[in-house]
């Protein structure tokens, strides 16, 4: 009798145990590129070619995932980060992304860099329903969940940043004579459009000059002399770091002091403001969403301390003034957060769903108060910026945190 009872109980327990474990198994869902032990993530970066300075972003992300793996991975799964060189060439980007998807069989393509490269692969990835996660470009068009539900941005768009400057100008200097210096590519033209949209009807009378330069030019001095001749009192500098530093330096050499507003792309203290000269840089305005690794005001910040520890351990010898390393850290931690949220449901659909469900996520490297928020209709993770003024040897934040969402047309 007793034995029978024991047997029955055992049978019941076994049955229940089998059922529950069966249920647990059923919850684990995988698409190509994910398994019990591994999550395969693909990436393309310009490690060579004209934009190779950005290659450091890919290297930072690789190091960050190594750190995560050393700590045990994400829910027990290691990240296998496969990153290829596209040399900033769209045809090469297509080739490499197809290799990632069809040969390496990755779960998602994450943080591919450059507007032309991303445009080239967007249609392909969306047709194959493969997430194009947190693209590394500031173009506005990535926030378009209706037409491209598999593509999501990361950083604030260039246009929304430019609109913030335009709004500030309208409020503070409504009678300014504005000159715009911009790089003749998608980056510069997005800023130009954002500024014009922001100024609206007043733009025609306020903007007295639009001067463009090519990224291949060795020096920008000639353009500055030309702009000075038109005598504007506000100069908007939509230039990449090298040219931004030259611009600030040249205006000082000409002992010309217009109000200068600088794109967020070129606010590195180490690689722009210092080479331009601190004296020449006083009073320059800009907007920011991330902390500057070279700015002493963050030396006791817990987030930047963690960043410093990471760089010291996983990227020894790297140049800490490089903003790409701050960027890569922030973007990589956003991916890790998203993958954690996926739990055991590592399907492409769920990954995209989680990427569009980030709530008040604040990576270590973002400014206090700037948070990542996404939803089914908002595919622009970071859309907040704060105005700042260069004073002494660092940026001083001022004013409120401004949200500058620009919807894609």
């Amino acid at each position: 009798m007793l034995l029978e009872r024991i047997l029955r109980t055992t049978a019941l327990v076994t049955a229940v145990a089998t059922l529950t474990s069966g249920a647990a198994l059923a919850q684990k869902k995988y698409d190509t590129g994910a398994s019990d032990t591994e999550i395969k993530i693909g990436n393309i970066m310009p490690y060579s070619g004209p934009a190779s300075a950005y290659g450091i972003i890919g290297k930072t992300e690789e190091a960050y995932f190594k750190m995560i793996n050393d700590k045990g991975g994400i829910n027990g799964r290691k990240i296998n980060f496969v990153t290829y060189d596209d040399a900033y060439s769209p045809p090469k980007a297509v080739e490499q992304v197809r290799k990632l998807v069809e040969s390496d069989e990755v779960l998602a393509v994450y943080n591919p860099l450059g507007t032309p490269s991303n445009t080239a692969i967007q249609k392909y990835l969306n047709a194959k329903k493969i997430p194009q996660l947190f693209v590394a470009t500031g173009a506005t068009k990535w926030n378009d969940p209706k037409n491209f539900p598999w593509t999501i941005g990361w950083q604030p768009s260039y246009q929304s940043e430019a609109q913030i400057y335009a709004k500030w100008l309208m409020k503070e200097k409504p009678n300014a004579k504005v000159a715009i210096l911009y790089q003749n590519d998608d980056f510069g033209k997005d800023y130009l459009k954002g500024t014009k949209d922001g100024l609206g009807a007043k733009g025609a009378s306020m903007i007295i000059m639009e001067e463009s330069y090519e990224i291949s030019e060795p020096s920008i001095d000639g353009h500055i002399v030309k702009i000075k001749a038109a005598n504007p009192d506000v100069l908007l500098i939509y230039a990449t770091p090298k040219f931004a530093a030259q611009t600030i330096k040249k205006t000082a050499e000409l002992s010309w002091k217009p109000l200068q507003i600088l794109t967020n792309v070129s606010i590195s203290v180490g690689s722009v403001m210092k080479p331009a000269g601190f004296e020449a840089s006083q009073g320059v305005l800009s907007a920011a969403y991330a902390k500057d690794s070279t700015d002493p005001q963050w030396s006791n910040d817990p987030g930047m301390k963690r960043w410093n520890e990471f760089v010291d351990k996983y990227m020894p010898g790297a140049d800490k003034t490089d903003t790409g390393m701050v960027y890569g850290y922030g973007a990589a931690s956003t991916l890790v957060k998203t993958l954690e949220m996926c739990g055991d449901d590592l399907t492409r659909a769920n990954l995209m769903k989680q990427a569009a469900s980030l709530k008040d996520f604040a990576p270590d490297t973002l400014l206090p108060g700037v948070k990542i928020n996404t939803s089914a209709t908002d595919f622009a993770p970071i859309s907040q910026l704060q105005m700042q003024r260069f004073k002494g040897e660092k940026w001083e934040l001022f004013g409120e945190i401004i949200s500058g969402d620009v919807a894609s047309e």
């Binding site: 990153t83 060439s89 080739e95 197809r98 032309p116 445009t119 080239a120 003749n184």
Partner: protein, 338 residues
């Protein structure tokens, strides 16, 4: 020193290649063709895409080969013709809804005109000076494509996205496979045309100019006409390659057609063997696959590794794939004798 003497004393720009050795034997050609036709059935779509790009770049290298190997003129501006072809197709397909197959001949005609007109002023230049003039063309092209008044058509810096065609008549094959066979057909047609062109009267005129301009003109060859004609034909073929490239990549943007592309094509021609038409495909394989191999060896130093590999090729086989092919032929001949 008069200009005539100047030309005579100058070493020929390109080593003379006998007409016969410009092509492969009939048997070898058929084997290569059979391999190209059967291959897609056994490989993944991604490999088919790479093979399509191989054919397309091969076509562009072939075009340069006709110009340099045939008529002895240098060009570092092939990327400009490639871009014009690509944009012609993209604009016609996306703005005018013209069938992709029809855009190819249009791109060819447009590029022929463009190349012919460019060849006119370039007539006065030779050797490195011509290379420099075409270099300027290649540098200018991406900027021209960004011009404001063209932006409505070209999409400016954002470029244009092109729709990939499906296989026609409900054929049971993927888009990639269809595009591969379509490109293959175009490439074979142009290859046969090129071989015949070089064997024709015009081809002989090209080569006479290449070998000695003064002697050619003394023989009654209209030097100016044939030089510009060579430019036109080369530009037309490059343009068609560009068209196919736009359809395969599904995207055109100014950044796709920088001077780097022109240098790659030039490199492909040298590696494949100047003046040896079948070498074009070998050269194309070099410019597509060797950077990937270099990246596999070292990500940070991929450029340096590529340089070393290129140096080895140029040092060991200065005449490129043609030299390897000749060596192979001699070896086969010896074996047959034994």
């Amino acid at each position: 020193m008069s200009a005539a003497e100047d030309v005579v004393t100058e070493a020929p720009a390109v080593e003379a290649v006998p007409k016969r050795s410009m092509t492969l034997g009939m048997g070898t050609s058929l084997v290569v063709l059979a391999a190209l036709v059967i291959m897609p059935i056994f490989v993944k779509n991604f490999i088919i895409f790479q093979m399509t790009m191989l054919l397309i770049y091969g076509l562009a290298v072939l075009a340069l080969n006709i110009l340099t190997g045939g008529s002895g003129q240098f060009s570092l501006g092939q990327s400009a013709f490639y871009a014009v072809g690509a944009y012609t197709t993209a604009v016609l397909m996306e703005h005018f809804n013209i069938n992709y197959a029809l855009t190819l001949p249009i791109a060819g005609v447009v590029c022929f005109g463009f190349g012919y007109l460019f060849g006119k002023p370039a007539l006065r230049l030779s050797g490195v000076y011509l290379a420099l003039a075409t270099f300027a063309l290649a540098t200018a092209m991406p900027q021209l494509l960004k011009l404001n008044f063209l932006e409505h058509w070209t999409g400016g810096v954002q470029g244009l996205v092109v729709t990939k065609p499906d296989a026609p008549f409900g054929l049971p094959m993927s888009q990639d496979m269809w595009l591969y066979y379509f490109s293959l057909a175009v490439v074979i047609a142009i290859y046969i045309f090129s071989v015949n062109l070089l064997r024709s009267r015009s081809g002989r005129a090209f080569m006479a100019i290449r070998d000695n301009e003064i002697a050619a003109s003394a023989m009654g060859v209209d030097v100016a006409l044939y030089k510009t004609l060579a430019f036109g034909v080369s530009a037309a073929i490059t343009g068609i390659a560009g068209s196919l490239g736009a359809i395969a990549v599904q995207f055109v943007a100014p950044d796709s057609y920088t001077i780097t592309l022109a240098i790659s094509l030039f490199l492909g021609m040298v590696v494949g063997g100047v003046g040896w038409l079948p070498g074009s495909i070998v050269g194309a394989a070099f410019i597509i696959f060797v950077p990937n191999i270099a990246e596999g060896i070292s990500k940070g130093l991929s450029g340096a590794v590529f340089g070393v590999l290129l140096f080895l090729v140029i040092y060991l086989v200065p005449h490129g794939a043609r030299q390897v092919a000749i060596l192979g032929q001699q070896l086969a001949g010896k074996l047959r004798k034994n």
